[in-house]
Structures are given as C-alpha cells and as structure tokens.
Symmetry: C2
Subunit: 154 residues, 2 copies
Amino acid sequence: MCTIPADTAQIIETSLITALEDRGLRKTTARAAVTQRIELAGDAFTAEQLCRELPEVGRATVYRTIRHLVDAGALCKLPILDGAPMYSVARVEHHHHTICSRCGAVGEFRHSTVERVMRSLEKEIDGDIVGHRMEIFITCNQCLAAIAEGESHD
Amino acid sequence: MCTIPADTAQIIETSLITALEDRGLRKTTARAAVTQRIELAGDAFTAEQLCRELPEVGRATVYRTIRHLVDAGALCKLPILDGAPMYSVARVEHHHHTICSRCGAVGEFRHSTVERVMRSLEKEIDGDIVGHRMEIFITCNQCLAAIAEGESHD
DNA sequence: CTTTTAATTGATATTGAGTATCAATAAGGA
DNA sequence: TCCTTATTGATACTCAATATCAATTAAAAG
C-alpha cells in the first residue's frame, strides 16, 4: 500500500523520472516522490538522508530507485572515504567532483586537461583504460568565510 | 591471550611495523603478524580478507592495525564503488591508483601532469584545494590475455 | 470502464562491515 | 623481576544495504 499524501504524490515531468521511464520502468508514486525530492534539494545526499526525508516511502524502494538512477547514469555515486556514499545529480555528460572536507558540499566541474592527461597516461599504464574517477577536496568559500568569521571573534 | 603460532609470530623488522613504532605504538605479536602478512601478500586487500587470512588475530585488532597504518600514511585506503574499501601499501610519497575492473588488481602510478592540472584548476574552483584523489579503471594485461584466450576457444 | 497480468512496493528479517566494551594479557621500562 | 600501561580479542552492538514475499498498483488489453 502506498501512503504518500496527495501533495507529495503529485507527479511532475522531470528528467530524473524520465530517465527511469526511458529504461522501461513504470512511473509510480513512490518513484515520483524520490526523484522529485532529489531534484528539489539540489545538493548531494546519502541514501539514509533520503529515507529520513521521505518516511512515506519504504527504505527498500528508496535504495532501489537510487540504484536505478545510477544505472541510468542520471546520478553519480561518490564514494566518501568514511561512511556511506553520497549521490549527486549528473548535470553534464562527463565531469568530476569537488567535495568540501569541512561541510561536505559537493560541486561539479569539467576540465579538458583531465581528458588529455588520460590519453597521455595510456602509454605508461599496464592495460587498457576503461574509465577514471577524480575528486578534489576543498574548503569551500562559505567555509573559508565561516572560519575567518570565527577567528575574528577571538 | 595471543594464540599466534611460533612461525607466524616471528617478528621481522619491516617498514610497516617500523611505521607503527615511529608513532609510539608497541611492537606486538599481533601487529607483527598483520604487517608481515600485508607485506608478503604485496597486493591490495580488504580488511575482511586479512581477518580471514589471520584467524589467529582478532578482528578488532586487524581493523585497529589497519587504521593505525592508514593514519601513519603507510597504507592507502581506496574507496571501491561497491563494497568494502581496499588497502594498498604506499610505496611512494604521492601517487594514484589503477584498478582492474575485471580482477580487482591495484597498481600505482605517478604523473607530474596531474599535479599541474591541480594548479590550473585552482582558478576555476570555488574554494581552496586541500587534496585530491584519482583512480584509473583499467582492464589489466593479464585480463586482456585471459579474455583473448577465452575467445579463441569458441 | 473493467479485467488481467506483471511490475512494484514495503514491512520484516537478514547480511556484512566496522566499532565499542572491558576483563584478561602482554610489553617494556624501572 | 616487578609494575604500570598499552594492547588484545570475545562479544555485543550499530549502521548501511539487501533479500524475501504477500499485498498492491500500473498500465496494457479487452
């Protein structure tokens, strides 16, 4: 039984739910709630966060929907060094991520040089390159400001 | 009570156990067994693999020793996309990893261009860069050979 | 609109990785 | 050798994620 209240249940035509439909999956109330929430939040999130924010959707369904979105290439799975992986909406075809090591905010960037590095590495590497992953750890501007603010109060 | 048999218990002066001693940690039979095993194996490994291979050492101790080695910078923790992280001995100061997506073999490489890319990214990125991580997914030469072998048998 | 069929859901149980606890034990300096 | 403190490891626990499976729902067919 799906117990999603009417206001949450409203199905909005979005790219995430479309990504699921394109894979032959049904457009259900639960999936609409999950994809909508991801899109409205904007930020990166963990599976458990989503579960907490959507108590009306079962955990199993939240996890399944996330997996489908990752399989569809609509979400990126970011393995964090400690703890559960984070997910962020893939807005551009191929990109990398910045992660603020103070607040956890995730950003996206593209850089043509990275692709060029890959090609030049192909000679050095003992096999065929099939993919790569790169994360840059930063202290974001907001956190830098917060730190400066905190110091000025001493 | 430590129940490590005599042959496993032999304490060998190695860089890993030294890394622990340098941090003021005691040279114990259990830690010697763990570090020795890591060095003899050579390959990357998961914590659970180590536990299975060293049933005479308690799980808690295996996990604690790994954590100490990572803290000391003697081991690299590699977050794998699915499942438990892998660990590999850090042989050079700063480097990146290749991971064979077929057999899981982990290699190490350095590339000066990666550092140059970091510097050039500093302008584009919204904050201070404090670190980065990069993994290249490959099909290693052994796997390429195995695939070719398999195909020739059709 | 109703029927039909297969996909989907979600409460629950289960797995698996990793950590906390704490009494017993071992390391290593005095 | 003794003494103090770090270390160990059996156990219980937490947390993330998955498997199970009867009840429910989507949507295609009639």
